[in-house]
Amino acid sequence: MSKFIKLFYFLGIVSLLCVRSAYANTEDDSALETYNRAMFNFNTVADDYLVKPVAKGYRAITTEFIRERVHDFFENLKEPASMINHTLQGDFSDSGNSLGRFAINSTLGLLGTFDVASGWGLTKNKTGFDRTLASWCVPDGPFIVLPLLGPSTPRATVGMAADTLSNPTYWADYYTHFGDKWEGYAFYYGITALGFVSVREENLELLDNLTANSVDPYATVKAAYIQNRLKIKACAAPDEEQTENSYDFDFDEEFDE
């Protein structure tokens, strides 16, 4: 197992151990808030000076057609994770759908660079281990900011690490370089880095817009991330849907303490 994966498991497990609250929308405790803000600032600097310029460079040297092929290639690599997790969630027809998509797109779709399966009625239906954990009633935990990867929660981190294990490029390197030092995983790291840049390029405008006029970008990103997370269907809890946006605008009494 590469150091990369080990790190993520370590991070995930450590964070799960310190979960004190069942939901991510509770207030930060001050130590976590201090860490989160520091990491958020670090990520912002890294983004401004490294990731964003690379993403812009990538946009400059590629055409939209090429970027779409790269995007489809990476999306296809996630199909095995979707297949496994649909099964774990008991959605067997969705699992078959992912299997079919992966088989068709990896071959006829030229290593996934073209999504031909969608045209045949097998539309994309992504899922991952994070959603599986949610369906098993695993709580999300508090909001945490990961180095370079940004906003997350303990459950999302564990989900991401587990999904990495079902990424075909990881296994391709694992088998061809079994027992090697980390240099043996150069292919995998290279592919991962390209995927990272590709995702960043797709979100250039979105992230700029989200924080452009914010006086506290950390608070904005945190609030938006937590609300968006609540969209993930958790186990049971029939009134979950209702509580997510059940705030009352007649707030005068609410703050009357």
Binding site: V215, Y218, A219, T220, A223, Y247, D250, D252
Partner: protein, 200 residues
């Protein structure tokens, strides 16, 4: 006969609307249909100049969004302690900043259209608010969900919140501003000053 029926029917409508202060959900939905059709789909895809687009968008924004109401909410508990002057200044800069933010963003909706999925009760003491559920089909994957929180302000419908992919603009802004004020040594005045600096 038809006339009499029509008169009776309108009398009935008047009675029910008087008897019940609850917001009329289908009226709210029609209001959002108008806003999305004229305000977004037609405006963005029309051939008028960018300046004209911005002017029309500003008008729409001022007429159809209840920014006094939203501004009050986003300041949260600090609204209560704010002076009249601070309140007015905040609402003013909040309005301008929102128009600026959204007129930069509205091109995100270019070529998109809204599908209507019915309405849903919103939590409000006066029962004067309702959610209008819509979705926007995306080039790939699931459609993006856009919920409009509509308030009946004495017959005129106004938007009081927009919830995109479960992210409420009002709640997000409230977290941003209250978090800022908590940390800022200059409180609300500091916030107003920094918001003004964001205006172009």
């Amino acid at each position: 006969m038809k006339k009499i029926l029509a008169v009776l029917f309108s009398a009935f409508l008047l009675m029910t609307s008087n008897a019940k202060a609850d917001i009329n959900a289908s009226k709210a939905e029609n209001f959002i249909k108008d806003v999305t059709k004229q305000g977004i789909e037609e405006l963005i895809n029309s051939d008028v100049s960018e300046a004209e687009k911005k002017a029309r968008f500003t008008k729409l924004f001022n007429e159809d969004l209840d920014l006094d109401f939203i501004g009050k909410f986003v300041l949260g508990r600090y609204w209560r302690t704010a002076t009249e002057k601070q309140r007015n200044e905040f609402i003013d800069v909040y309005r301008k900043l929102n128009i600026q933010t959204w007129s930069e963003r509205f091109n995100e909706f270019r070529g998109k259209h809204f599908e209507f999925l019915g309405t849903e009760k919103a939590n409000s003491k006066a029962n004067d608010q309702v959610y209008v559920n819509t979705q926007v089909p995306m080039p790939e994957g699931a459609p993006a969900s856009v919920k409009w929180r509509v308030k009946d302000t004495g017959g005129k419908m106004k938007i009081v919140d927009i919830i995109i992919e479960n992210v409420s603009l009002a709640i997000t802004a409230q977290k941003e501003y209250t978090s800022y004020i908590q940390k800022s040594p200059n409180g609300i005045d500091g916030l107003i000053k920094d918001l003004k600096a964001k205006l172009k």
